[in-house]
Symmetry: C2
Subunit: 298 residues, 2 copies
């Protein structure tokens, strides 16, 4: 028997935002307001700071996922969107579980088993049984989706196209392995592959390679963030923002590619200003075209 | 017309050792002496120190590959073995080339284009045209080859077997991409993937993840070093030694797998003492068995 509907506060339709770190949750909340929805934000562990969110919001430690879900439900949210990055995963033995966490612990433990993708798929199935509908970020904020083709003022050089194809192939292989989303390559070779450290730390590594002269002067390293081939599009689409561009500049990256139609660009105006000022090429890579180039190249 | 044979110094057959870093070149030189050969060692860039080699040896900067090849030929070496790690690649514009380097520069540049594997294949083809025969390390020192099965006192736990299969799948995928050889995974997920930084720096990263609690307490990360599926077995077989074990201990690695029959264990007695004392499981992974486990798992 479903729980009785609580008295909902007045206003538009509630959107529950389960928020990790980065600027994406703030952007999504803004887009939701523009669509007449009322954002309610459950912030997790290393998620966004309280100050960035003017909406009803509450912080939850990992281990209190049960509380967060109950809270969002009680506040009237029936639609949920997951966004933002999570750099550490729950260690259920390291927190004193609340009663509600204890109740869902067996479920939660089966959720965190497996790579991110499996975890998210399990999580979404569980939430649907609890009466939520899961939305994709792009349903709330379609403007964030990266278009196909050259987005920067400067088109790619031939060497950069080779490097983009190489990095795209590597980033896609990482996706098949359910590992990271990002890879850095030059036209000659693959330089760095993202594991659990995330794109930012991988880029710092590339900056160190550069400093240590482990990247040749004739190599123009490029960054590609690609969607996992079988990824649930409601979770964790690859995204870049102004911070990515700053990291790319620090790492000596000369071109950036993202999955066209399947990745997010946060703050496109600022991003384009930054890449154009730095002379970086930015492209939305269509999967079919990349596959073709990969075949020609190998 | 081939160059006239120089007067060879007395003694056994010369073996030219093109030596990178690590302990492998020293082990190979010792094994060559035991087989009655006379090692002649060309040391490269960040290669082994002069003190470690009691044989005729000479250091060469990258960019003087032509000189090294001429020197080995002049010293009577007709058989060559490549061994040891190279952590930075030549930047031909950063060195003042010698006359001989200038002569082979176009060839050398085509050699360094492409990932390590392509580079090594091109290099071997070039050296064969110069009158050398290329040997595999395992032809000189067959005892170094890792056998199949459990090598440590402790057999793998079920979770470690899952993690070994996952890391083996990832390390092999890196090989297909012509990127690194090593991956770290737990039974839940892939944690780190080797790019140009090499296994040691990747392991330092895992140690940092552990410190930052980005690896759960219930995860037992395992390290796998796997041979590239289409690798020329005369070059750069995956290898582990006592230093790998020390790095593994520092990173909280609970099991280590290497390609059975296609990878090297340097100083097997010390390695076994170290893993057994630390309670680490060490296995030679047969490719067929791993493929099967990977299928069952996914």
């Amino acid at each position: 028997m479903p729980a009785p509907e609580p008295d909902l506060p007045p206003g538009g339709e509630r959107l529950g935002i389960v928020a990790g770190g980065g600027s994406l949750p703030v952007v999504v909340a803004q887009a939701a307001r523009e669509r007449g929805m009322v954002p309610i934000v459950a912030r997790f562990a290393d998620g966004i700071s309280n100050e960035a969110i003017t909406d009803l919001s509450r912080a939850f430690p990992w281990g209190r996922t049960g509380d967060a879900i109950d809270w969002l439900y009680a506040e009237g949210a029936r639609k949920l969107v997951f966004c933002g990055t999570i750099s550490s995963r729950p260690d259920f033995r390291s927190v004193i579980p609340s009663l509600r966490t204890l109740r869902i612990l067996p479920k939660a433990l089966s959720i965190v088993r497996g790579g991110d993708d499996v975890m998210l798929r399990n999580l979404s199935r569980y939430l649907e049984t609890r009466g939520f509908e899961l939305l994709a970020v792009q349903e709330i904020a379609p403007r964030l989706i990266a278009p196909a083709g050259v987005l920067s003022a400067r088109p790619p050089r031939p060497r950069e196209m080779l490097a983009l194809a190489k990095a795209h192939r590597a980033a896609t292989a990482l996706g098949v392995l359910d590992a990271g989303q990002a890879a850095v390559a030059s036209h000659e070779r693959i330089i760095a592959l993202e594991g659990i450290e995330g794109t930012r730390d991988m880029m710092r590594r590339v900056a160190e390679f550069r400093k240590a002269k482990r990247i040749g002067r004739t190599e123009s390293p490029v960054l590609v963030k690609a969607v996992k081939p079988d990824q649930d599009r409601r979770f964790d689409l690859p995204s870049i923002g102004i911070q990515t561009i700053e990291e790319a500049i620090a790492a000596g990256i000369s071109a950036i590619g993202v999955s066209a139609g399947e990745s997010l660009i946060l703050g496109i105006d600022d991003v384009l200003d930054a890449v154009n000022e730095a002379g970086i090429c930015l492209m939305g890579l269509s999967r079919d075209e990349m596959d073709l180039r990969g075949d020609v190249q190998s």
